[in-house]
Structures are given as C-alpha cells and as structure tokens.
Amino acid sequence: MSIVLDQVTKRYQGAPVVNDVSLNVRQGEFLVLLGPSGSGKSTLLRAIAGLTEIDHGRVALHGRDVTHVNSRERHVGFVFQHYALFRHMTIGDNIEFALRVRKVKSAERRARRKELLKLVALEGMDDRLPAQLSGGQQQRVAVARALAHRPEVLLMDEPFGALDAKIREELRRTIRQIQRELDMTTILVTHDQEEAFALADRIGVMHQGRLLECGKPDDLYTRPATRFVSTFLGAANLLLGYRTPRGVRFSSAPMAGGEVPREVVAILRPEEVELCADELAIKSNFVSHGQVEEVLFGGAVERLRVRMASDGPVPVAPGREGSTGQGSLLEVSRTLPEQRDFPVAVGQRVAVGARSIHVLPTPISSFTAVAANEAAARELRDSPLLLTLGTRMQTRVATRIGRFERAPPGMPAIATGPDCAAAAEWHLTHGAVQLLCVPPTAPLPNHVVIHTLDAESRRATLAVAASLLRHVAAEAIYLGIQPAASAESERGAHMRNLLDARSAALADHGLDMRTELRPGVVAEELQKELAAYERSMLVLGTSNPDAIQWDWLKSLLEGTPARPVLIVNSARAEPAADA
C-alpha cells in the first residue's frame, strides 16, 4: 500500500472536520477525493502532506508511519490550487528548488530540470518568470516542481480550480498521462464530478468530514450505497418504494394486508426513464402515468420534468410535508433517438417506465413524526435532529396524528417525556423496525453511543447507526457492557463481540468507531456514558422488543435531561440478500 490512512480525525474548535477516515491507496493508483466545499477533503489532503497536524489516527506512506513526521521529510509532491510558484525565481529555479535545498550538484539539477520541463511540455521556458506564463502553464510548472525530488506520492489540491474550462481539460489529460508514465500514486481533491470521472481509478466521496464511499467511478454511479453519493454523482430521482415479493412497488396507494410494508429508497436515473404514449407501449417496467410539465432542449440530451399521477411514486425529497394531493415531479433526460421515436410537448399525458432502478442499501428510508395532535406533531417534525436528518438525508418527514392500526412505514419518531416509554413499546410491537425518541428541543448530538442488547441485532443496529452518522457529524462509540459478576472467561467472548462489531462496521458501512468494554450494569453504564457528554445520543439494538426491560429505558426516555434514543428492532429487519 502506498498511502494508508487509519482513523484520521482532525478537529477545529472541537468540531471534527475530518472524521475517522480510513483509506488505502495502492501503488500507482489515481484516487480522486470528491466532495462539496467544506467536506474536509482538502484538510485530509493536507494531513497526508503533513501541512496539518491530525488529532487522532495514523498516516503511513509506503509502509513508513509518518504521523509525526513534518512535511519536509515526508517525501510528497504537493500541488496547490493557486500554483504557489515562487514569483521571484525563474521557472528553472522553481523546478530546481527541491534539488537545491538537497544540495544536489548543478549538472544533475540541470538534467532533471530539462527532463521535467519536457515532461510538462514547457521546454525552453527555463528563464521565464512565473508572471510571464499563463495560468495553465504555471500549473504545469507547479506539477514539474512537485515532481523534482522524485516524491513517493503526488497530492493535488484542486489544481484546476483557477483555470478556464478548455485549459482545464487539456491539463487534465496531461496530468493523467504523466501519472501513468511515472506510475505515481496520486490523490487529487476536487468538487467537480466530471473531473473525478475523467481522472480517477477510484473516487472517494467525502461529506461532512466523512469518507462516505470509495470505489470505481462506474460502480459508484450505478450502485451507490448512500443518498448523498447517488445525488452528488450525476442526477437522480430518489423515490420511496415498497418491497413486495414481486419487486419494488412505487404506488403510494395503500396496500392490502396487515403487514407494514417494508419501505426502501430507490434511485431512478433520469436517463433510465422511458416515456411512451400509453402503458402498453412501455417495454420496461411500468411505473405510473404522468403529464409533461417542462421540456428543455440541451443539445445532445433533452431534459424533461414529468408530473406523476397523485397515486404514483412518492419522492424521497424534497418535502417535509410529503406529497399532498399533487403527484411528484420526475426528472427525465432523453437522447436524440428517443426524442425522434416519441416526441413530446408540454402538457402531454405520458406513461412512465423504469428501465432500471437501484435500491439503496440504506436502512433508513423516511421519517414519520407521530403525535397526539397537530401542533405536537409539527413541533416534533421541526425538532433539530429530525429536521436535520430529513434535510441531510433528503428524505421525507411526514406527520401522523394519533395511532392507526399499525406503526407507519419507515422510521416513526415520537417525543420523549411522559408516556414515551409506553408509546415506544406500542410502536415496536406493532411493526416498527426502527423508532426514534427525540426531545423536541434537543440540539444535534455530537457523541453517539451504540449498544446492542443481544448479538443478533448487531448487524441491523450498526447499519442504522452508520446511516445516522453519515448525516450527523458526531463521534461514535460502541459500548460493550459486561455484567460485573460475570466470569473472567466470558470476557473473551465480550471482547470478540466488540472487535467483530468494529470490523463489521468498518467493512460493511465504512463506519469507524471507538469500542469499549465496561464492566457493570447496562442501564447504569449507558446512563453514565450519556451523561458524560452534553450532546449525546443513544442507538440501542434489540432483536426481541418484547424482552426489553422498560423500567430503566423509561427513566432514560422520560427523565431529564432527555437524550435522543434510536431503537432498532432487528426482529423485522431486512433479509440479508438484497435483490
């Protein structure tokens, strides 16, 4: 491995900007770190270069632990967004700088300079000053300068950010070529997905300090695991569907039968939508009828918006309200041949089919705030935690007044306080797979405690916790609690359970968390851990809600100050095999 990051964390004023990032980069691999501004990608890159010290974790370059090595001894080449050329030195001197400080003989320096200038196609520019070159040329010089001392890895921080589109594309090609030629392990940071697709062997998507997903560009595009990645890489219609034995059903019309339908989040790419005159003409899977609301001609592709029938698919986003009455809007893009086969105009009624959908493995689909009256439901819906999760997950937060026969699909949310425990018990025994008990005024948590009451519920709990932590910047700790009276021999089993949990979280969900084994009583230890942090939250897993001892949970849910508690009921959790 050329670059190994292990649980790298960097905080600014207490808030993590890079949060538990672990990553391996192979020799010769071109990795692009992609993310919106403020996602921590540049900070992570600077941490690899040694320009920023990290608070926790390890950085290794070619098997050498460099966590506490300063940047000048890390042997990295770094390219800055604004070139950072030494303006008072000629191009030649800029390139030779690294060799000069290493006291390399002048003949050798000159040979290397010539070689590098040839590599970046700037031969004969030795005596020019940076100010006499164009932006693209200056960035080439910066690349040559960063390569002069034959670094082991090349790190580039938005190197094309300050250039115009045409030059950007040209330079992109040059850099890819150089990288291949030298077999140089490279990490490039950008917020431009087109750039990431053009350059990367692998793309790592960062959001709010976390590395959400890392994989081959086409894998990330066709099979994203998270809502954020599916919408950040290309356009996507995120729809709520219900898993049935015959596949995913999109209709929002209520289904017959007593079971709460298992809600899933599916992505339908605009280019995978098929439009036809009527249901029978659709060659792919029919979704719903709709009406064309907007047509934009965009050269090679045509972009349309189709208003779906009101009993059609429910969008995941936007809408804290969900869709009321009116159907949802579907983004569609069509190629020229498709347009020729079936021209459409605004106002036309069409049948909509889906050629392919991808069901996100995310365990949290949507939220429903359940309360006794409308005011309470609205207060709950607007609580910081629910509001944030709804916005960041780009998912629906519906409201429901009073109890129905069954718990709502997705994740019901109820307010902590009096009667909370009873309501929680009712939901968990009436079909809820997850339940969020949230104090309406509690701030966002920054310390999440994860605990499972039995080993069977671990998988589902970790999945939900990972999904939660992808959207809330918080530290995670997985607490194992060993009864104080238990034998020493059981300690090994507890420890193993803990380590398994940690590696499973990392491998399956990319979630890096601390683990700790404590002797004591479950209720006391959890309460102690939660009380130690002002903004803590509990994620509690169980595979048998009937076996929950409600007395201690009641004191947690109805006491003050109340903390958010997310209960995962794995008795009805998703089957392992994913269609």
Partner: protein, 300 residues
C-alpha cells in the same frame, strides 16, 4: 488636449483636474520653497559658501546627522521586521494594543518624546544610571543618545511598510517550500525575505530620511555640544538665531543635496534589486547562460 497622448484610459473623468492639483501643490508647497532655498544660497559667493559648509563644526554635524540616521535606520530595519513579523504572524493577548502603540512616535510631538527619552537616559535617569553602572555606557548627551532618539522616531516607518508585505506574502508559498524539503531557515531566506525586501528597503529609506531631518526629539537628549553632539538641523537653527540667513540657507542646501543623493542611490539599489529578482542577471546564472549555447552546439 495637450496631455492626451499620455492619458490613461479611465472611466472616471477628472484627469485634467487631478493632474492640475498635483502640479500646483507640488510646485507651491515643495518645489517653490526648495527653489527659494537654492536661490537664497546663490546670494553667497563661492568662497563664502565653502567657508560655511566646510566649516569644522558643520562637517562634524553632517557626520553625526547622517551617520546616526543611518545606524538608527539599520537597527530599525532589523527590529522593525521582527516587530512586524510577530504582529502579522502570531496572535497573542494585547496584539491590537501593541499594534496601536507602534504609531505613537508618529502622533506624539517630537519634543515630548525627546524630553521623555532625556529623562530616562540622563545620567541621573532611571535607565541612564543603570547603563552607566553596569556597562559604563553613557547614552544621554553623546552620539548614542542621538541614535536612540532616531530609532524611536523611525520604528513606525519600517513596521508600517513591512506589515502589509508580510500579510500579502502567501502562506502556501511557505508550505510549498516546506513540502519540497526546505527547512525553516531556507524558507525564510529564499521565500519570505525576497518577498518582503522591497518593502523593507522602503521602510529603511523612510526611517533614514526622517532621521536626517529630525530635530525636536534629538536636541533634548544630545546635549548639543559643538563638534560632538550637534546635529545639522540644530546648526541651522543656531545660524537663524544669529540672523545669518545666508549661512542657514547654505547648510540647508547641503542637507538637501546629500539627502537627495542618498535617496537617489537607495532608489537605484532598489530598482536594481527588483530587476535582479525579476530577471536572470545573477552571476551564477549568467555563467550557465553563456555555457548553454555551447552545449547545444555540441549536441547538434
């Protein structure tokens, strides 16, 4: 329309107006009085003029005035840089207060600072006594006192010209040098100093010019002993008090001349160094340059 051919295209009107003001004020307030000084001097004959300006007492005062100003400016260039550096690069409690204090020598009437310095450094003064006891050094009423006064007066000039240059110097340049393997000293010498040098030279020049002309703060601490601690501006005042207007004008003319020559020289050095940093005229590089064509020929 006369100025049309060198007029800069600008959206804002008023070129004629602003240039008119500039020439008028420069003429009325700077050039005219200076011309009057030169004119007044010409009322002396050559021998009279030389008698005045080459007088033993006058020569000693030149040495003191220019020498002390030069030393003070050099000291200020060094310490002023450090002050500016710590103000720009570090955040410490009271940084804003220190930043404001820098300007105090500007704002204070120079006589006040002169009296303050004299009180502290006089042989009976708080610092003067200790310096005398510990090092046997007397500051007040010697040339050292003059230097001390000029350091106080000149410091803001250096700090205020270096500060913006340091702010502007990009941090990523230093980081770039660091990733390329440069140690802190190399980063300072090869990256920071070249970027700040022009501002430093400007600050030095201004501190020096101010020092040459300083009167108020010096006369209290220097003791004004003829041939020893008498600065040229004081000599001019003495001449004026004796109604020797022509003599005063002659000395003033000499100061004008020397100041002008020194500023001119410093400007030359500065523009030369600017050209050096913006073009390959370094001796080492010149050798390479001469060598290269020959190599190319050999290769061809």
């Amino acid at each position: 329309m006369a100025a049309a051919w060198f007029r800069q295209p600008s959206i804002l009107p008023g070129f004629g107006l602003t240039l008119g003001f500039t020439t008028f004020f420069l003429s009325a307030l700077v050039l005219l009085p200076l011309a009057a000084l030169v004119f007044k001097t010409t009322s002396l004959t050559w021998s009279e003029f030389l008698d005045v300006v080459l007088d033993e007492r006058a020569l000693a005062s030149y040495r003191l005035s220019f020498g002390a100003a030069f030393i003070a400016a050099a000291v200020n260039a060094f310490f002023g840089f450090i002050v500016a550096w710590s103000l720009v690069r570090y955040d410490f409690p009271g940084r804003r207060l220190v930043d404001a204090l820098i300007d105090l020598p500007f704002a204070l009437p120079t006589a006040v600072s002169g009296i303050a310095l004299a009180t502290v450094f006089s042989p009976t003064g708080w610092l003067g006594v200790r310096l005398q006891q510990l090092f046997g050094v007397q500051v007040a009423y010697t040339w050292l006192g003059v230097v001390v006064a000029l350091i106080l007066i000149g410091l803001p000039f250096v700090v205020r010209s270096v500060q913006p240059a340091l702010v502007e110097a990009q941090r990523d340049l230093e980081e770039a040098a660091e990733t390329l393997g440069a140690g802190p000293f190399t980063v300072f010498r090869r990256i920071i100093l070249p970027a700040v040098l022009p501002a430093l030279v400007t600050g030095f020049t201004m501190a020096f010019a101010r020092g040459v002309g300083e009167y108020g703060s010096v006369v209290f601490i220097s003791g004004n002993l003829p041939l020893k601690t008498e600065i040229t501006p004081l000599l001019i005042v003495i001449k004026l008090e004796q109604f020797d207007y022509n003599g005063a004008a002659a000395l003033g003319f000499m100061m004008l001349l020397v100041s002008f020559l020194m500023l001119f020289a410093i400007n030359l050095v500065q523009s030369w160094s600017r050209r050096r940093h913006s073009g390959p005229v370094d001796s080492g590089r010149r050798v390479e340059r001469r060598r290269r064509p020959r190599n190319q020929k050999a290769g061809a």
